[in-house]
């Protein structure tokens, strides 16, 4: 770990501005760190040559006095964002070798603001998973180690992004969050992850999983770095009918100061049965920190929380089953060699998709089928509305909600694999905010008895990311989370 890779984005921007170092130097330091951390499998595709080119261009741009919001900052890009001329796989065999001839709006915005792409970060296949083990290209490994040095999952689906930021091989990373895919891996890897309001970032050029839930977001090591990144990538896009035509505020400017007059809601339904004592403890700790910062704690109720997970596992697979129909072997990606059309379809999709993707396509196809549609899909849509109403009612009484991010710390690779339902339970605290479309952030709050990071989640009002950043900043300050992942601590020692 060099000094350059340990910088925050904010400090790196300052250093670049002061000519303490160049973007090329900053980028090279991260490429080098990435080479040393290859065993974490954070990337599906590394783009070091392109990164250096981008860094050179960025240095030139800065020299001309034309610096963008993220000028010269090297980032990992989740391999769900289409990148012009660079393989984009969604961690699926079916898209292996696919090079888009277009750029996603999120990456286009980031590049326009000067950021440098280090590579395409590994993820669960089509963002379906909570452990990164469904990636066709091998699972990402968490830089934090379990007891006896056991390899742990980084969480998912944005596991490569979270792991890369935690391991200091990228200063920040893009993620996407459909049911917790940013917040849960952020918690597992001890970094901060932000899922903004649905519609804040364009979905154009992002490989779709569940269109009504998918939302791009950020990973970085501080709350403020997330704020800087989000400002650079968000914004209205005429190419996405669901992107909101709203001004993008300077999120970082909303941070700082105490929380006097702010009300923090504690939803009682998030005290689930069998929640580990350590999760309970960190939550209590978080509540105390909020009080210390001057906030008022308010008990609130989100009565439909218990229906969130089943609702999510109807709506998300339903949309996925349709969104993934385009991967048919006809126009791009993997095609099985068969002479009869229906055989080609079947074999292409049987060989191209992994088990979890197939499972969700089957579930989705089932819930949309004639005779089941009303009982499952329509019902789920109604419940989804009730879940949103729960949040809106709670925000009558408070400004943000504070909850744990995940029901456990990072678990070992291979754990929970035997039982999909058990795996789905990882998302129990993150899924409701996804269904409601409201912004949510995970901030590292402390370590459990095994020395593994635990995250707390702040859930805000629709479009009020500024409040989430403000409260997140206060939580970060109180928690003062400075622990290093084991892979780095070992080197530092």
């Amino acid at each position: 770990m060099s000094d350059l890779t340990n910088l925050t984005i904010k400090d790196a921007l300052k250093g670049l501005e002061n000519k303490d170092f160049t973007s090329v130097e900053l980028t090279e330091a991260h490429i080098k760190a990435g080479e040393a951390a290859k065993d974490l499998k954070c990337y599906i595709t590394e783009t070091p040559d392109q990164a250096i080119e981008m860094a050179k261009a960025s240095d030139a741009k800065r020299a001309k006095g034309d610096a963008g919001l993220l000028e010269g900052i090297p980032l990992a890009i989740k391999d769900l964002f289409c990148t012009n001329g660079v393989q984009t796989t969604a961690a699926s065999h079916i898209l292996e070798g696919f090079k888009p001839q277009y750029e996603s709006t999120v990456t286009a915005n980031l590049f326009a603001q000067g950021s440098v792409m280090l590579g395409k970060a590994n993820l669960d296949e089509f963002a379906m998973g909570s452990s990164n083990t469904t990636s066709y290209f091998g699972n990402v490994i968490n830089p934090w180690k379990g007891a006896d040095g056991k390899d742990l999952t980084p969480g998912g689906s944005s596991g490569g992004s979270a792991s890369a930021v935690a391991a200091r091989i990228a200063m920040g990373a893009t993620g996407t969050d459909t049911g917790g895919s940013i917040r849960q891996p952020a918690a597992f890897c001890g970094v901060t992850g932000m899922k903004p309001t649905y519609g804040r970032c364009s979905r154009f050029g992002t490989v779709a999983f569940a269109s009504s839930l998918d939302q791009a977001g950020t990973f970085a090591r501080t709350v403020e770095d997330n704020a800087i990144m989000l400002r650079a990538m968000a914004g209205h896009d005429a190419k996405d009918s669901t992107s909101a035509n709203r001004e993008v505020p300077d999120f970082a400017a909303a941070m700082g100061g105490d929380l006097k007059g702010k009300k923090i809601g504690i939803p009682k339904e998030y005290r689930v049965d069998g929640m580990p004592a350590e999760i309970e403890k960190i939550w209590e700790q978080g509540i105390e920190w909020m009080k210390d910062a001057g906030a008022e704690i308010v008990d609130v109720s989100l009565p439909h929380t218990k229906y969130a997970l089943p609702t999510y596992y109807i709506i998300a697979p339903a949309e996925a089953s349709s969104n993934l129909a385009r991967y048919d072997g006809v126009r791009y990606g993997y095609r099985a060699d068969e002479n009869i059309l229906s055989d080609m379809y079947k074999k292409t999709r049987a060989e191209g998709f992994g088990d979890e993707v197939k499972r969700r396509i089957m579930i989705g196809t089932y819930v949309l089928s004639a005779g089941y549609y009303d009982a499952y899909y329509i019902k789920a849509q109604k419940v989804r509305r009730l879940i949103l109403n729960d949040f809106l009612a709670a925000y009558e009484k408070c400004d943000v909600l504070l909850t744990p991010t995940a029901p456990s710390a990072a678990f070992a690779i291979g754990e929970n694999e035997d039982d999909p339902i058990k795996m789905y339970l990882n998302d129990v605290f993150t899924v409701p905010a996804s269904l409601a479309g409201v912004p949510g952030m995970s901030v590292p709050a402390g370590l459990d008895a095994n020395g593994l990071p635990l995250g707390l989640q702040i859930i805000g009002r629709p479009w009020d990311e500024e409040m989430v950043f403000k409260v997140g900043g206060a939580l970060e300050e109180a928690a003062n989370f400075t622990a290093l992942p084991h892979t780095l601590a070992k080197k530092a020692a």
Partner: protein
Amino acid sequence: MAYLIEGETGKWEVVIGMEVHAQVSCNSKLFSGAATAFGAEPNSQVSLIDAAMPGMLPVLNEYVVEQAVRTGLGLKAQVNNMSVFERKNYFYPDLPQGYQISQMVYPIVGKGEIEVDLSDGTTKTIGITRLHLEQDAGKSMHDQHPTKSFVDLNRSGCALMEIVSEPDIRSPEEACAYLNKLRMILRYLGTCDGNMEEGSMRADVNISVRKPGDELGTRAEIKNVNSVKAVQMAIDYEVRRQIELIEDGGTVVQETRLWDPNKGVTRSMRGKEDAHDYRYFPDPDLLPLHVSNDQIESIKATLPELPDDKKHRFMDGYGLSLYDASVLIAERHRADYYETVANDNDTKLAANWVINELLGILNKNEKTLVESPISAEQLAGLIKLISDNTISGKIAKDVFAIMYETGDDADKVVEEKGLKQVTDTGAIEAVIDKVIAANPGQVEAYRGGKDKLFGFFVGQVMKETQGKANPAAVNELLKKKLG
């Protein structure tokens, strides 16, 4: 007169509903900016969205929405303030997304109606159930390679209006009249060019038979009926097939059948048991479509006069017969042409000239009105010469023939050829005197009671004047002179 088919067991009634797919006249597609021109090189008009590349999202074309609203208003239909695009899921190589974006539960246009004119001089109102917007599919090409099929995505994503009728149609004639009238309305509105040969208008026909007064029978849906004539033939065939099937003790099964224009038969394409489960659900990439009353009103304000309104105005205002009015309003351009001719002229005379002379000769020469060498203003000039007695109707036909050849104005032709009508009574009298003198026998016979010979004298006078004598003056003077 009810159209009933005589079977072995008695009379049968035919019940028909139509689903017409009309491609919206628009330079770009329903959800992408790609071009829509007909006949372009394969795959030259395909955007990333039309090819369903990963991460691509549909963005609704506002002009198409306007066109659908315009069509709804033209069909005197309810335009819905809120409609929803849904996905119809199925796999086919010419359907890149793996689903067609269509409207299911909430279409943009609801109930409306069309008035059709029938050959017995009656009119009938056919109900419109709904109109919805949807994407067209691409085209599979199986004749390009011995072992492979190719796909052309030019049509993929083009905007279609599916216009569904109530099962109000009771005969092949009504079906054809419905299709013709619908096409006429769409062309008036400029929302679809109605070109069935190019596939921009396609019809599916739902057919069932029953004994008059019975419940509706089981229907078969006939696809690939791509001309008005084919509609007539497909119905004739299918009705016969169903009646014979039932009378032989069989039952009609609900199925999709394909019209084979070469063999002149319908054949089963897929039965109900093979029907797809399309798993419709609202497209999460698109928000519900809202059209405000203000938007509807402002589109309404731009509507042209519709065929039926025009027809009634031509009958009431110009005193035309239903037949003449119907012929003239068949195309918007034709009606405009007529009105230019009729302006400041005898409206019925103008109708006669447009229908019998102009359309007659154009039809004979296989030309359309747009290609007419005689402009509406020129034809109006010719009729004016008839009305003010400059030339006779008979001479006018000669002038017309010359105008058609040369494209000259009537005035010029009349002037150059010296065809001006003689109305000078002195000149006509002189000719009459000459004729009487030259035909003493006929004069005697006429005066002896052979009244029919009057026409002979008229003919002689006309011959002498090369047809230029005013017929009324000739009649009057002849009567006087012959006593």
